[in-house]
Amino acid sequence: MRTILILIKKEFLQVFRNPLLMSILIVAPMVQFMIFPFCADYEIKVLDIAFIDHDGSRITQDIIHSFDASDIFVSHGIIQNKKDAEKMIQHDKIDILVEFPNQFEEDLMNGEATRIAITANAINTTKAGIGVGYTQEIIGGYMQKFQEDNMFIASEEQIPARLNLSYIYWYNEQMNYKNLIVPGILVILVTLIGCYVTALNLVREKEIGTIEQVNVTPIRRWQFLIGKMIPFWILGMVEFIMGLFIMKLVFGITVQGSIPMLLGITAIYLLVMLGLGFFISSVSENQLQAMFIVLFLFIIFVLLSGLFTPTEGMPQWAHYTNYLNPMSFYMEVIKKVVLKGSAFVSVQTETIVLSVMAVIVNTGAILSYQEKSK
């Protein structure tokens, strides 16, 4: 017991005396929290639009003006030449181009079929899709109003049935991407502290040779690993709690579910990550190697975890791979508990899986830690 206590004390002394590590532990997560959610944002805030008007009638003018009323669209007005308009799309000056044909008003008044061409720059497919949708919505809205105002020109049966789609986004009512990204960052933070910092710490002892000096003492390897784990486990929990505070204070996201339960599952997840960190450090010769392995795993974990893209859209093999990805289970837990306020029943599978992973990874870490080399 005395042995483990002095190992923990030693680790904390070293952490607090390492200015670089301290700033990584405190400043980096804060900065990440403050910057990342604002960048990783799928919301379309601005759409640049321009028009080609071959008709030049009152109706087309009205439609064009109706875009001015929108918060999202920035109108670049009417372009005379189609070539110029295409160039603008190529140069990324406009996202959407709306083209009214000849005799648009006339055909409309006569009740004949007429077409509006909507061209979108699909380099960013999300933006193009959303842009075309918004454009259709505005034009459709205008047409509906127009038809209602001009009942005389259309017979009863020509009026399309009024169908209003209204969206309600559950658990994220404003469809605010921050609500998804911020808890995701919390996951990344805990993962980084757990895996990265511990892997680098142990490998550094290898590099400066202190591990040999410790290995010639009668201390047992599990004692050594526990003495290493507890300090970083505490640090990880402190980081997580700090993250929860930032989430509340800066982004106004309150944990919907039970906080003690969230802390409990985070503690288990941290154990998985700590064990993984130690495993990596025992197979690495130096900090550089350890860093590459962590980075490699980390990117796979993040991409598969469903933080940036929904897991539902992934191919089957990705789903299977995800069964090995502790981060995806933990991400599920965070989403469910933080946003939905789920009770333990709905996260118990994830908790069990993470616990099993913790046992396996840590056993592997202890076994792979060589106190004697061959």
């Binding site: 002394l13 202190t210 290995n215 010639v216 004697k372």
Partner: protein, 308 residues
């Protein structure tokens, strides 16, 4: 009684590098034993094996009546190890390092203070300083304190004086002598031949083989040739010329002198040698007979081994 018995220990790295070949020797209790050899001779490999950090490929090692390989846990409690490179925590203070290793060995600083006091007294004024900020000599003394804090029965020191200034080296060897008086068996390795004479017995090691084991005096006693030293204006041209020397001799630069060991009857050989130098237009200072040093002996033994 033998504190350490090593029998036929072999270690091969990567299936090609034969780091240790049939190493066999004994160290008596209370002995100050020196392992002398150039870089790459296998000294550190042997130390890593003896300190339970590395497993030998074959061979048997008995340490204080225990089997080194099977009873390594008990062995660790009884040995102290000072590695070749400074490997204490540079970001912990002097005192914190000592405390840390005392607990690691389940030992008590106060109880063993009498053993380390002579060394500790010198570093105590810096006890709050970070170990990484100490001077080289001070680091070494701290490392020694940490290696002795559990009162080991055998102390292993891997090149403790490599890269240390002459004054600190001398001081360090004085400390080793006092440690020995406490009944601790000491095994020390060094590339410096002059330090070898300070040991009770030495083993000469090269290319993973023990070339000879004896007291320094006996090793010098067994020098086979007749050794002379002289100065030359141009050592390089002298050495070139000596390649053509018909006499049975072994020559090498030694500091600013040239040492030459003859394996001939000197009454007839010396005039021949002088004639040879004259014929080859080599200017030289007085050629004086000299008592061989350990280094001379080492060179001779290496040479003889090569011829065998």
């Amino acid at each position: 009684m033998a504190a350490l018995t090593i029998q036929k220990v072999n270690k091969v790295y990567n299936k090609t590098v034969h780091a240790l070949q049939d190493i066999t020797f004994e160290i008596q209790e209370g002995e100050l034993f020196g392992l002398v050899g150039p870089d790459g001779a296998g000294k550190s490999t042997l130390f890593n094996i003896l300190t339970t950090l590395l497993l030998p490929d074959s061979g048997d090692i008995q340490i204080l009546g225990m089997d080194l390989i099977n009873d390594y846990k008990q062995v660790r409690q009884e040995i102290g190890y000072l590695p070749g490179t400074f490997s204490l925590y540079p970001d912990l203070s002097v005192k914190e390092n000592l405390d840390f290793f005392a607990v690691m060995y389940k030992s008590d600083i106060e109880a063993n203070m009498d053993l380390i006091r002579p060394i500790w007294r010198q570093i105590e004024p810096f006890s709050k300083r970070k170990a990484g900020k100490l001077s080289g000599g001070m680091k070494q003394k701290l490392a020694l304190c940490c290696a002795l804090i559990h009162r080991p029965k055998i102390l292993f020191l891997d090149e403790p004086t490599t890269g240390v200034d002459p004054v600190s080296r001398k001081e360090f060897w004085e400390i080793l002598q006092t440690i020995r008086t406490q009944g601790i068996t000491v095994l020390v390795s060094t590339p410096y031949m002059d330090e070898a004479t300070l040991c009770d017995r030495i083993a000469l090691i090269q290319n993973g083989k023990i070339l000879g084991i004896d007291t320094p005096e006996a090793i010098i006693e067994h020098f086979k040739g007749t050794l002379y030293t002289f100065k030359s204006a141009n050592i390089f041209s002298l050495l070139e010329a000596l390649k053509r020397c018909p006499l049975q001799c072994n020559y090498y630069p030694y500091g600013e002198h040239c040492h030459i060991a003859f394996y001939e009857d000197m009454e007839t050989a010396m005039p021949q040698f002088l004639q040879f130098l004259e014929d080859n237009q080599q200017e030289h200072g007085d050629i004086e007979p000299i008592r061989p040093s350990i280094e001379d002996c080492f060179i001779e033994i290496v040479k003889m081994n090569r011829h065998e």
